[in-house]
């Protein structure tokens, strides 16, 4: 093998001619296409970890519902399906406006971005507001797991169950099982709620930066990534809603 052949086959040939360097491009990337792809794939692999994160809780839920079906039916009557339903509508709507915000970012339309981000943020606050009302009810009903937990069954009609009407101290399912249901309820909706709060922080930051024309926001990818995250939060709720609010059975 001759030396010349070596230097050509093993050579390092520069192609570092960034004549028109995009100001949005970070130093480690060769070009914007590479950077865009990296951001999208990075966000998706992060979402995969989030899926596994919630997945554990879905398994804990499934197993406990399998082990204690009666308790889950009984306990879920404490949740108001209309609160859950309205929250679903709110989140689906916010997903739509977020998708529109991403579209506006791709088209670099400042006004549309601001409008759609505002609606999305308001929806998120609405969601949290309704959740707060629900949590407060649970607190007054002593359904927050822990030292103050005290479960009383309710009947299918919403009032106290026949047994509990006679003796309010008595519940027809074990306290421990009811507590598992409410632990899962609070853990899963709480973790979801934390994600909503993080989403609000991200979207508000973007809103302010777009409002004041921060050079950062000339790159549409930030809104797009916030959008991916927000749709994921929506998907989690799509599963939480039927699992907690819509357990059928007598």
């Amino acid at each position: 093998m001759s030396v010349d052949a070596i230097s050509t086959t093993h050579g390092l040939v520069g192609h570092d001619d960034h004549a028109h360097h995009d100001p949005n491009q970070a130093h480690q990337f060769e070009d914007m296409a590479q950077q865009n792809e990296s951001y999208i794939v990075g966000m998706w692999s992060f979402l995969v970890t989030e899926i596994m994160f919630f997945g554990v809780l879905f398994i804990a839920y499934s197993l406990n519902r399998l082990l204690h079906p009666g308790s889950f039916i009984d306990a879920h009557r404490h949740l108001n399906v209309w609160f859950g339903g309205i929250n679903t509508v709110i989140l689906l709507t916010s997903s739509l406006t977020m998708a529109l915000a991403v579209r506006a970012a791709q088209l670099q339309s400042k006004v549309a971005q601001l409008v759609f981000l505002t609606i999305t943020i308001l929806c998120a606050f609405g969601f949290l507001g309704i959740k707060t009302v629900e949590y407060t009810h649970k607190y007054h009903e002593h359904l927050i797991p822990g030292a103050n937990f005290h479960y009383v069954s309710v009947g299918a009609e919403g009032g106290p169950s026949a047994e509990a009407a006679v003796n309010p101290e008595k519940s027809n399912i074990p306290q421990g099982q009811a507590q598992i249901f409410f632990l899962l309820y609070f853990f899963m909706t709480g973790l979801h709620g934390i994600h909503v709060v993080i989403g609000i922080i991200a979207m508000t930051t973007l809103f302010i930066m777009i409002k004041f024309d921060h050079p950062f926001t000339r790159y549409y990818m930030w809104v797009e990534m916030a959008g991916l995250y927000w749709h994921f939060v929506d998907i989690v709720w799509i599963f939480l809603f039927p699992l907690f609010y819509l357990i059928p059975g007598k």
């Binding site: 296409a33 998706w44 995969v48 997945g55 398994i59 739509l96 998708a99 529109l100 039927p242």
Partner: protein, 118 residues
């Protein structure tokens, strides 16, 4: 070469902007499915209730992934990762197979698997 390349891809990406009608149709479908799942929950189909609820939820999630998150137009790599997330989520439900198969026909001598938990 690379700058030029970046410019064209950037342009292409901007041209792939999703249409508004597509988003609204998706939104309508999601709303319809939500009403459907609530309606089904108030009828008693026995064990099928859960299946129906989960199938509807899966359809809704798929709609969000494909249209809102634009995986439909995404690169193969994006599709791969979206799929991996879903597949591994299902794989983890393999844990449940233990609980389902515990009650199967016992083998003589194996009636009571040792219960000591370390």
């Amino acid at each position: 070469m690379s700058a030029e390349h970046a410019e064209t891809t950037h342009q292409e990406h901007s041209h792939h902007v999703v249409s508004v009608s597509e988003l609204f149709i998706t939104y309508g479908a999601l709303m319809g499915l939500m009403l459907l799942t609530i309606a089904f929950a108030f009828k008693d189909f026995g064990a099928m209730n859960n299946v129906i609820a989960m199938v509807i939820a899966l359809i809704k999630a798929t709609l969000v992934v494909l249209f809102f998150m634009q995986v439909r137009k995404g690169s193969k790599l994006t599709m791969l990762w979206a799929a991996i997330g879903f597949i591994w989520f299902l794989l983890m439900f393999g844990i449940m197979s233990d609980y389902f198969s515990r009650a199967w026909i016992p083998v003589p001598g194996w009636e009571s698997p040792t219960t000591n938990q370390k």
